[in-house]
């Protein structure tokens, strides 16, 4: 695979990378200048042609989503999802803290393309530095004429404000985020209507992940073909892979989609600690099915991981070596989801708690064969029967671990 210079992470290690002066010195806001001279339809067509898919977990084609935004609606909004909380994921925080202008430039171009004059940045409450960086970046952009009235003489107006969440993973789900932005409990809404039809204050709203938005200026400057030439057939462009767990060099690695897991783990992340073998890998964050070491040759792309029975999710690779206690891993992930359940629907709220009770018993060595069977029965029953996708995310680790590492559960009874 061809070597790629970092694009999304090109700035993050420069001194004062978060400052607007640094951003401008390396060509920042050139894409905005170019975009404001293009008709909005051309920008949407370009993003569509680039093949960019959302980086927030679901992988929906970005240009298609932009096209869904009604052209004739008088009021439209853009909501920026900076709520990153999927265990294993730590890419959005890096961009927000070290290169906020790269997202903001993407925000302004996207808002121009869909005809929104108001953007809301929703940021996880724990990201205190990120909040400061967002606010400073927005203030500086106003001063430079990149925000406000008649941006760079184009006649386009845009205002952006920052809204802090307050500790609730579910608010990363786009409709729960809209509820939270409206000052309510972060309980997901029924879909349809989708946010593009009825979002913030019932107005058409485009919700986009931070990493997705950071791609936009590069697609505008370098062109759709540059982007669609990178990656696999159905997964285009560069992706930030967050690698953690038992590797020698955990961290964020920006690589083409389709890079094989083993290249990410052994070449970029420095291999497994103490030269141990791999037992299991979570390829896309805690809500994606666990895979075994045999799958290490799988290319990291939407379609290839799906074919392997798992998902690319947020691109968060958690590596577990041969000594890892899989019962404990599953207990810990389940505890996370039970803690974060919004409580709105029964299968997730009650089913999750009951799964955790069985897992606690199994982990403590006080469980029986019945606990394994009940756990599997519950997980199978919850799957696909919850109000929002979190319920399914909650059972994927359980079901995949029971399939792959059942002997470890059996040994505990």
């Amino acid at each position: 695979m061809a070597q790629h210079q970092p694009v999304l992470l090109a700035n993050v290690n420069r001194p004062d990378s978060e400052k607007i002066a640094t951003y401008l010195r390396y060509g920042g806001y050139d894409a905005l200048r170019k975009a404001l001279k293009m008709p909005p339809e051309t920008i949407i067509a370009e993003v569509k042609a680039s093949g960019l898919r959302g980086r927030g977990g679901a992988g929906f084609p970005t240009g298609v989503k932009w096209d869904f935004m009604p052209k004739d609606a008088p009021v439209k909004y853009l909501a920026v999802n900076t709520d990153e909380g999927e265990p294993g994921t730590f890419k959005d925080r890096l961009i927000v803290e070290r290169d906020p202008h790269s997202i903001l430039e993407g925000v302004i171009i996207s808002a121009y393309a869909i005809g929104a004059h108001r953007a809301f940045v929703y940021i996880r409450g724990e990201f205190f530095l990120g909040v400061k960086r967002w606010i400073k970046a927005i203030s500086d952009a106003y001063q430079h004429g990149f925000l406000g009235r008649d941006i760079l003489g184009s006649g386009f107006d845009l205002d952006v404000s920052v809204h802090r969440g307050a500790g609730a993973y579910i608010c990363g789900e786009e409709t729960a985020m809209l509820e939270s932005l409206e000052g309510k409990r972060g309980v997901p809404r029924a879909k349809p209507p989708y946010p593009a039809q009825k979002g913030m204050w019932n107005k058409p709203t485009l919700v986009q992940n931070v990493e997705t938005l950071a791609n936009i200026p590069h697609i505008i400057l370098r062109g759709a073909k540059w982007h669609s030439d990178i990656g696999t057939e159905k997964s285009k462009g560069l992706k930030i892979f967050c690698v953690s767990g038992h590797v020698n060099r955990p961290g964020n690695y920006e690589l083409p989609l389709g890079t094989r897991l083993k290249e990410i783990i052994y070449e970029h992340a420095g291999g497994v600690r103490m030269g141990r073998g791999i037992k299991a890998i979570i390829p896309g964050g805690a809500s994606t099915p666990i895979i075994s070491a045999e799958m290490v040759s799988t290319p990291m792309a939407f379609e290839t991981l799906q074919a392997a029975g798992t998902a690319l999710g947020t691109g968060a690779v958690i590596v577990m070596d041969e000594t890892t206690d899989m019962v404990e891993v599953v207990r810990r992930i389940t505890r996370f989801f039970v803690h974060e359940s919004c409580g709105n629907c029964l299968p997730c709220r009650v089913g999750g708690k009951r799964m955790l009770e069985h897992l606690e018993k199994l982990a403590a060595g006080t469980g029986s064969k019945q606990d394994i069977e009940d756990l599997e029965y519950l997980a199978g029953g919850i799957r696909g029967r919850t109000f929002c996708p979190m319920g399914t995310g909650m059972v994927e680790p359980v079901l995949s671990a029971l399939r792959l590492f059942r002997d470890e559960f059996v040994k505990r009874v």
Partner: protein
């Protein structure tokens, strides 16, 4: 905490027209002085935004960063997530900090200085183990670095 900025009154940023959407920001401001939401603070917020007290309580209680009970001056939140656990963190850090301060998760030291809590993934899995103290994130924790952090906080007047 720089709540002036967070509440949206910084230069340039626009104050939100819809009052209700300011609720979370208002709760942060209300919580700042005492570290938790007093009944009076909730009432004030409700009055300002044209909501009932129970609407405000109902919303606030959904979010873990809003507190209904007093906390210590320094709130220590140790990540118990998977990557922190795989990096010898999580419970090990909780135990280490807890032993130093003589408290367990959910408790506050008798002098009111420290509260210990456990939290879910802090998006620092690549620099695990991690914990948050007040508004600051600490990564790549080791016993020595935890000692340093706690000593500095204890020395603060």
């Amino acid at each position: 905490m720089d709540t002036q900025n967070i509440s949206g009154s910084n230069e340039g940023a626009v104050v939100d027209p819809a009052k209700r959407s300011m609720l979370l920001a208002a709760l942060y401001v209300a919580q700042e002085q005492t570290g938790y939401l007093t009944g009076d603070a909730v009432h004030q917020v409700a009055k300002r935004l044209g909501l009932t007290d129970s609407e405000v309580y109902s919303t606030a209680s959904f979010y873990t960063l809003f507190r209904m009970k007093p906390v210590g001056r320094h709130v220590i939140q140790v990540c118990e997530g998977l990557s922190c656990y795989l990096n010898d963190g999580a419970e090990r850090v909780v135990e280490y900090v807890g032993a130093k301060l003589g408290i367990r998760p959910g408790e506050t030291t008798s002098d009111g200085m420290f509260t210990l809590e456990t939290v879910q993934c802090l998006a620092s899995c690549g620099t695990a183990p991690a914990m948050r103290v007040n508004d600051r994130l600490y990564e790549n924790l080791s016993p020595a670095s935890i000692d340093d952090i706690l000593e500095r906080l204890m020395g603060e007047v």
